[in-house]
């Protein structure tokens, strides 16, 4: 996606050493983050890792235990939510069920005692942009999931916020609608060019929408970067495993110098930048493994199960020692459970992780 140019002016949002505890439970453990104006930032991470909490801290719905939040260079820790100039789209949309779509959009503006004419103008603009003009008189209960989603976004837009916050806005939709709304939000971003912060635990959303992804785990940032950078150069095993479906295969083994001997029997030279000795994990993504039906290849594995999705085939196989391997093949292939399969592992697709799970540099 288009990369927004990072200007030299104050970042749209800056978090410094943000911490948050609920009672005795520490949830956010000191987070530093800078977001530039116009960026589309996605927070991903497993459930309970603190994504929503972080977003709510930014929004001003909760107060950080310590640390500073700066918006456009101004500290806003004590500014109430309504005055930070942010808009939030909630996971459940949180549309006011008893108001019409129009009233939902105007409520916030009325609270600001804006002139009626201006309110009208903004609502109409937003409604046109989101193609919900014809729905203004309806109640949320009379809308489909996708329409509700758009109203929720509309409510965020009319306030003309400096930053949009989204908390898993698509998680309640079914797969089809999700795909569609995903595209719409991306389009919106390229039209409005606002800063957007988007929380999800769906890594497809993260991959496809983000300018930069922030991967969170247990209240800490694991890695920040552009989607494909993260995909191709994960900083550690967690990030590697978290992005990509089916998951990256992890094969345990030991490294001696440049040579890696895996428990499954495979022995390979790997271009390690700093050769050494120790336990390592070799990572390889399912789509990078080549399948030879005739049984030839680097290694032979046994098909345990497979799934024909039409466009692709997932193969779940085992090495003789029992290590499992998932292979994604881009075509339909005839398979049998128990069948022997030759697979080859192109070493340029290798990822190597040390005992501390950190990525090891490879020279390629």
């Amino acid at each position: 996606m288009n990369d927004t140019s990072h200007a030299a002016k104050a970042p749209a949002l800056q978090l410094s050493d943000i911490r948050k505890s609920f009672g005795t439970v520490d949830v956010i453990h000191g987070i530093d983050l800078e977001i530039q104006e116009g960026e589309f930032i996605v927070f991903v991470g497993p459930s309970g890792c603190g994504k929503s909490t972080l977003l709510r801290l930014i929004a001003g719905l909760d107060d950080p235990t310590s640390g500073d939040i700066n918006l456009n260079g101004k500290r806003v820790n004590t500014v109430p939510a309504s005055e930070r100039g942010l808009s939030m789209v909630f996971q459940s949309y949180a549309l006011y069920p008893h108001m019409t779509v129009g009233q939902n959009l105007s409520f916030g503006l009325e609270n600001l005692r804006m002139e009626r004419a201006e309110i009208e103008r903004r609502i109409n603009d937003a409604a046109t942009l989101l193609q919900i003009d014809h729905l203004l008189g309806r109640r949320p209960g009379q809308l489909s999931g996708g329409q509700r989603q758009r109203v929720a976004i509309g409510r965020a837009i009319v306030r003309e916020p400096v930053i949009f916050l989204f908390d898993e806005p698509l998680s309640n939709l079914d797969a089809e609608l999700r795909l569609q709304m995903r595209v719409e939000i991306s389009d919106l971003h390229s039209k409005l060019k606002n800063t957007m912060i988007y929380v999800t635990h769906d890594q497809i959303e993260a991959m496809t929408m983000a300018d930069r992804i922030v991967v969170l785990r247990g209240g800490n940032i694991e890695q920040i970067g552009r989607p494909l950078d993260l995909y191709n150069h994960p900083k550690n095993k967690f990030v590697a495993g978290f992005l990509g479906a089916p998951q990256m295969n992890f094969l345990e083994g030991t490294l001696e110098g440049n040579v890696i001997s895996l428990n499954c029997g495979m022995v390979r030279d790997v271009p390690v930048a700093q050769p050494g000795t120790g336990k390592v994990t070799l990572g390889i993504r399912p789509e990078n493994i080549h399948v030879n039906l005739d049984g030839h290849g680097d290694e032979t594995v046994t098909v345990q199960n497979y799934e024909q999705l039409g466009a692709v085939t997932y193969i779940y196989a085992t090495f003789p020692n029992g290590d499992t391997l998932t292979v994604q093949h881009a075509h339909q292939i005839p398979l049998q459970r128990g069948q022997e399969l030759g697979v080859s592992f192109p070493s340029e697709a290798f990822h190597l992780f040390g005992e501390d799970d950190a990525s090891m540099e490879l020279t390629r």
């Binding site: 709510r56 929004a59 719905l61 109430p80 939510a81 309504s82 005055e83 942010l86 808009s87 939030m88 909630f90 996971q91 459940s92 949180a94 549309l95 006011y96 069920p97 008893h98 409520f107 916030g108 609270n111 600001l112 409510r155 306030r159």
Partner: protein, 361 residues
Amino acid sequence: MSRLTTFLSRTAGNGPDRAERIGITDVLAYSYLFFGVLIILVPVLWTFFSSIKSDTAVESFDTRLAPMDQISEMIEDVGEKDVWIYTAEDGSTQLVYKAGPTRKVTDVAPVDDPGAVFKVPRTSLAPHEEMRVAVENYLDPILKRNGQDNFHFFTYLYNSVFVTVIATMVTLLINAMAAFALSKYRFRGRLTFTILIVATLLIPSSIILVSLFFVVWSFGLFGSLWGVIIPAAATPTGVFLLRQYMLTIPDELLEAARMDAASEWRIFWRIIIPLSLPALSVLAILSVIWRWNDFLWPLIVLISDPASHTLQLGLTQFAGEFDTNFHYILAMTVVTLIPITLVFVWLQRFITTGIATTGLK
């Protein structure tokens, strides 16, 4: 037996097609409902039918359904006399009045020939009746006719309506405010307040009657409608019910409103109140019932001021030391029933669906 138990265990969600088969279960269910409703309705209807019977029919406990009333006629030179039907031994009948004391053999005279007194056995006389709706049971007290000058129907009605409406509005407002605080804020003392309020559920009003009497008296609320309205406004039932309901309103809505720059009061008014309507309407119904029907407390507080009597107090007027005007009591009972029945008919949808959704449990 097993059929009987089918009926015990069935709940909603049997597709509508199940109802098409009329089984023994349905027969049992409908019989239960039918008899249940009979038991509920018959006394009420009976009261209504009695209320349109004449004074004498009521006083003599006439159990016939139709309002029969003995006819009396103005007999020349004699005065107003009840008319009886005399059945002679040959079966012929004649309209007569009693021309002397009632004895085994009584003097009577034909109505159309007052002079022709003759003797007949008492047992051959039957009252001459007509069917007549005794509208006077209703109209006398309402229009202050027939010596009912001291029954100020419209004053009582006004007071009852005033107490009911104002008390209900105040109750709804302050209970909703309290419930909002207890359901949507985390603050020091929340648990204490909640427990205090739930504990009030356990304090029957009759227990504190004596001291409440002292308190209300020292507030100077005696004889004032406010003395009835205010003490009853903060109902624990209401707070409890609304709180349970508000707990189900997603916090995200409030947060959305906060992002929308709404003040907390505005959130309450614009978001919480409209969304709690089902629970509020249940509480409204309950409050209307309570306040409209209140008797003992208004009796204590209001009795001294005739201008602030409510209908329920007015009703007591018909019971004297020596005599009780049952026909008026019945008629006015029916009158007090009417508004509550109308409210009921109007709101029964909310009652049945509302309570079910309020989490009043």
